[in-house]
Symmetry: C2
């Protein structure tokens, strides 16, 4: 295949907020033309399908200011600096949902927004406790957990009620692997 | 369910680049606490599954500077100002791939990155011509088209070779609808 790699001529930081960092890269295309690429810097995140011993799954409803809607999502959260990704997955499940993780395994890696974000999503399947302990979300995380059967998750996806791309991709990918 | 809606106290624009615009919203949580939300502004985009009369599909390999990789994706592109979303889908398929669209229909709407972007993705299925005409991508769009069978797309997804969340979600959603 043709090599499409863009040569980076320079990068400058143009915004550094509390959560978002934006860099602008000057690049040279394979045909010699120059352009710029604006990029959201991101450490990456874990997305976790958590299954209880009774075969039900724990998800969250979370208010997302970006789209001004409360949406249904898998449990997920960002990597902390220097944190191994599996520790992040375990921590996010325990903090956000209160459920204890008894087994966890990574099954895929995807990118949610390659047009402008370097974010990588590490997808995990976890076995979790039957009952939650105490939740311990970040002070401004605004969510409630919900327990759903596999059929209810499929219904949410097929009806268009679940609109979160990472959750749809993670769930359908995992079901394919499980059923393979 | 508990109302998780966050009250917006004010919004200020902190970065305006060529493609990215960042706003910071001061918000009040349902519990009265205050915080901020940094948001990527975005007009939205169309993602198109294009099928030829021979049952093969047209996708693209695109270099993504954000992740410094060339990845396999469905044809997609951003809405222009004031453009109806179906016109955008048709335009992007014709410009990026060169194939003519003979029928197009929207089948779902998803969000790729609700944690920090307002982007909405409108998912389309299109019937396209058997042979491409001339491609007419943006001057700095850096991609090549590829023709694949449904089995080859499934293989790319299951093997982890296709990592683009929107393409995985769109393809698997559409296959569920088609097979329903």
């Amino acid at each position: 295949m043709i090599d499409l790699t863009e040569k980076t001529l320079g990068v400058k930081r143009v915004f550094e907020g509390r959560a978002l960092i934006i860099d602008v890269a000057d690049i040279e295309l394979p045909n010699g033309r120059r352009s710029i690429r604006e990029i959201v810097r991101h450490r990456g995140a874990a997305v976790i399908i958590g299954e209880r011993p009774d075969g039900k799954f724990v998800l969250v409803y979370q208010y997302r200011r970006s789209i001004e809607e409360t949406i249904l999502e898998l449990v997920a959260g960002c990597l902390e600096e220097g944190e191994p990704i599996e520790d992040c997955a375990r921590r996010e499940m325990e903090e956000e949902s209160g459920y204890q993780v008894t087994l966890i395994e990574k099954f895929a890696e995807i990118v949610p927004c390659p047009g402008y974000s370097e974010e990588r999503l590490h997808l995990f399947y976890a076995k979790i406790s039957q009952e939650p302990g105490e939740q311990n979300p970040d002070f401004d995380e605004n969510l409630v957990t919900v327990v759903m059967s596999a059929d209810e998750i499929y219904e949410a996806i097929d009806s268009g009620r679940m609109i979160d791309a990472k959750s749809i991709a993670a769930w359908l990918l995992w079901c394919r692997k499980r059923d393979a």
